[in-house]
């Protein structure tokens, strides 16, 4: 559905293409129907793997086929001894890698792989990390691969420091690396947390990042990733909740409060209290000026005539 150029062809070429497609279509439908029949009969055998494999290699987005394939594999894992089960999984890994070479951006393939790795008797996470390295070499922006990498990192306990090192390598070899800079923004506060507990990265580390990103856009001013990262480095901290502006009217009695950020005022939210010359007013009720949400930054008092000391 994406990136297919409309090419003008002769009537002859069109007829040839039509025939080719009819053949492909018939083959696919026959295969799909056969697989569906076997699934109905709860057949989880070599033939099922073969048919689903052939269909999925060319059509990795047909998730129903992946579902059936998982049922087959689960069954085989349940009945086979450990070594055979492990072998089955390795073969499945190879099959998936072949699928990825043709379709590196298929949700179905990547998801099936993570499902498989969770089922393997002895998963080799190092191999999985290598796979990610390889596919990120082909396409540094493949977010499916990055997500899979983060899954592998989490499952196998790769340290944030090592991952930070990886992003440094990627960025030094090619500055235009939005995905790597992005990953960095997540890793820095983990590897070098700010001592103030704000959740941001330590100040001195951010200053070093500043140097790094400046090098990037001085080398290539058109490199967008550096500019976005730069803005983040300069970013402000958390906005404090304060009264920004206050309006008081005596006749009719009314108070309008503008806060620095939207909150929910009331029983299970923020409490707004009014004191006049040291004496707190009670029975003051607040209404949100924004009607489409429970949250707002502008709150108006109502029924002030019932407020008392």
């Amino acid at each position: 559905m994406h990136g297919r150029l409309k090419v003008r062809t002769t009537a002859e070429q069109q007829e040839l293409k039509r025939q080719e497609r009819t053949q492909k279509l018939n083959k696919f439908q026959a295969g799909f129907n056969r697989a569906s029949q076997k699934r109905l009969n709860k057949e989880y055998d070599k033939e099922s793997l073969l048919i689903t494999g052939q269909l999925l290699a060319a059509n990795p987005d047909v998730s129903t086929l992946w579902n059936y394939r998982r049922e087959i594999i689960q069954h085989l894992l349940d009945v086979k001894p450990k070594e055979e089960a492990q072998l089955l999984c390795s073969e499945e890994q190879e099959f998936l890698e072949a699928c990825l070479r043709v379709n590196p951006k298929s949700y179905g393939v990547w998801h099936h792989r993570s499902w498989l790795l969770n089922k393997m008797p002895t998963p080799d996470w190092k191999t999985e990390l290598q796979l990610c390295n390889k596919f990120l070499e082909y396409d540094e922006r493949n977010f499916h691969c990055w997500d899979y990498r983060r899954f592998v990192v989490k499952q196998s306990g790769v340290s944030a420091e090592e991952e930070l090192e990886f992003t440094s390598d990627k960025i030094s070899s090619n500055f235009s690396n939005y995905s790597s800079w992005y990953y960095r923004s997540k890793l820095l506060p983990v590897v070098h947390p700010s001592p103030d507990g704000s959740g941001r990265a330590a100040e001195d580390v951010l200053l070093k990042e500043f140097q790094l990103v400046q090098n990037a856009f001085f080398t290539d001013p058109n490199d967008q990733s550096a500019w976005f990262y730069h803005r983040w480095l300069l970013g402000k901290g958390e906005q404090k909740l304060e009264v920004d502006c206050l309006y008081v009217s005596l006749d009719p009695p009314k108070i309008i409060v503008r806060l620095t950020k939207p909150v929910k005022v009331g029983s299970n939210g923020v409490a707004l209290s009014v004191s006049v010359q040291g004496k707190q007013l009670s029975n003051v009720h607040w209404q949100n000026s924004a009607s489409s949400s429970l949250y707002g930054s502008l709150w108006v008092s109502f029924n002030m005539m019932y407020a008392t000391y």
């Binding site: 990136g3 009819t22 977010f143 997500d147 983060r150 992005y182 490199d223 990262y229 939207p262």
Partner: protein, 329 residues
Amino acid sequence: MGTAAKDVIDVQQPNNLLLDKHVEYICAYENKKDDYEYVMTEYLRMSGIYWCITAMDLMGHLHKMTAEDIIKVVKKCQHECGGVSPSEGHDPHLLYTLSAVQILCTYDALDVVDVDGLVLYVSALQQEDGSFVGDMWGEVDTRFSFCALACLALLHRLDAVDVEKAIEFVLSCKNFDGGFGTKPGSESHAGQIYCCLGVLAITGRLHEVDADLLGWWLCERQLPSGGLNGRPEKLPDVCYSWWVLSSLAMIGKLHWIDRDKLVSFILASQDEETGGFADRPGDLVDPFHTLFGLAGQSLLGERKLKEINPVFCMPQEVINRLDVHVQLL
């Protein structure tokens, strides 16, 4: 010195909205049931139907589609578990459950399915951390958070899930650039941003977004050709005219885009011979890009089209009829 930005070569034709051609295109598509494309996309048929009827409705030609047949198909695709499959012979999934609900809402025919079953199916997919999986096989993605909440909002059954937790999960996917990804720790992508903002709009929590920061990232999707891409250094694509534009609309920054240049890019992606829109000028058309091209045009104020709701990507009059309300900044 410097990298050439990825973009399409300046194309200017066609430069007006070929409404009649698009009506022709969708009608023909619905009738070509033996066509290669049609059969090979059976695995997403329910969404395909939703794209087609919504496009027709926007153009004011919904009556040209065979409502009865479509409603029958939707009914047949609801499984015992309550979920809906893309087509007969396929497994149910949250994506197609939403598409089914959108179709039935458009036709005001929700009574043909087991609504309680739908609600049960959707709510059972919520995980402990508030996220949603797409089906029993466990894939987590913010797209599914949107599918779930949009579905339930249209059915007035948001009570069936833990909304607070759902919001918490979506917010945990917020990134340094103000955008959102598929899962916590994933890179920002216009499609995911649309989904996450959709969740926040449905639940009245758009103030949690840094609208200026995200608005900037989103309007930077516009390239010299006028088209929008989905994230930095990518080619423009008509479907992003929807994902990015509706996101900007939700956070009140629609005016941060050069409207005229975007309109000319979308119009240039039309096929004068067959009708329909492609992802970019010169490519092959399909119903997916046709809907989003039209939807984008509607958001940009094209008067020949019905007003579209930026959260649900459905005609606003349908949303009004359902009495569903969303927050927009």
